[in-house]
């Protein structure tokens, strides 16, 4: 675990992501992960490696799937909605630190399409939904060279309300 980045999230939010995936099955769900990353906190050590920064997911922003006319099952979030998510996050004193989506009847591993469209730094949580029932949940970060994703640990944190 020393080198693998880890995100912290509450069990309540994990259940919400799983429920969103079940609710939109057989279609994909998607949403924003709002939280804090010690690497972007003002005054934090600028020499600290961003990948070793502590990241905590504190809220979710479920989004409507604004799919275009692709024949494949995909999700997209427009720049306007990204801006709206950032604004909502700021109102709660948080940042958009990643995105979640479901893979209906597919494993919780990023697809090639996911990789081709990914941004660095964000956490990408994927929940597999098999026959309507949520299964594995994983989290990933795009590598600096855009050639793949590295897995992130997901740690369930029990904590008082913020």
């Amino acid at each position: 675990m020393a080198d693998e980045p880890t995100i912290w999230i509450s069990g309540r939010l994990v259940e919400k992501i799983r429920a969103h995936g079940a609710e939109t099955y057989p279609h994909e769900c998607c949403g924003a992960l709002l939280g804090r990353d010690s690497g972007v906190v003002a005054g934090s050590d600028p020499n600290k490696d961003a990948l070793n920064a502590e990241r905590e997911i504190l809220e979710l922003l479920p989004l409507v799937n604004r799919r275009d006319d692709s024949p494949h099952n995909r999700f997209s979030v427009t720049a306007d909605d990204v801006r709206a998510a950032e604004k909502a996050a700021r109102e709660h004193g948080l940042d958009v630190v990643g995105w979640y989506h479901s893979h209906p009847d597919h494993p919780a591993r990023p697809s090639q399409y996911d990789r081709d469209h990914a941004w660095p730094w964000y956490s990408y949580i994927i929940v597999s939904v098999q026959k309507g029932a949520p299964q594995d949940m994983t989290s990933w970060r795009l590598t600096d060279n855009r050639e793949g994703f590295s897995p992130e640990g997901i740690e369930i944190r029990h904590r008082a309300a913020v």
């Binding site: 994909e28 922003l61 409507v64 799937n65 799919r67």
Partner: protein
Amino acid sequence: MPVKVMIPSPLRSYAGKRDSAEFNVRTVGEALGRLTTEFADLRKHLFTEDGKLRSFVNVYVNDEDIRYLAKENTPTKDGDTISIIPSIAGGVEGYNRHCERGEEPLFGFLDAAAS
């Protein structure tokens, strides 16, 4: 007064953790060129190998999408703000069911989650 380029959070670790940079330039393309010269690691996240802006990279000049202006030739004037805004996409390939727009309201869970 130069042109200010706002750097989105996913790219700040490639830009010395800065959230903006200022350049004396005349077009959006020049500003992006200066930005990716100063911070070379940004380049592959903004541009494809043949030098085109990636499809999920949206660039605005004072809230106007440059796709509806003159794209990278869009002229800038002193005091303009150029914003780089992500759009997000993903999905499973080879999977032929259509994804309908959902009924749930945008941001529907937020207030419930915050309480």
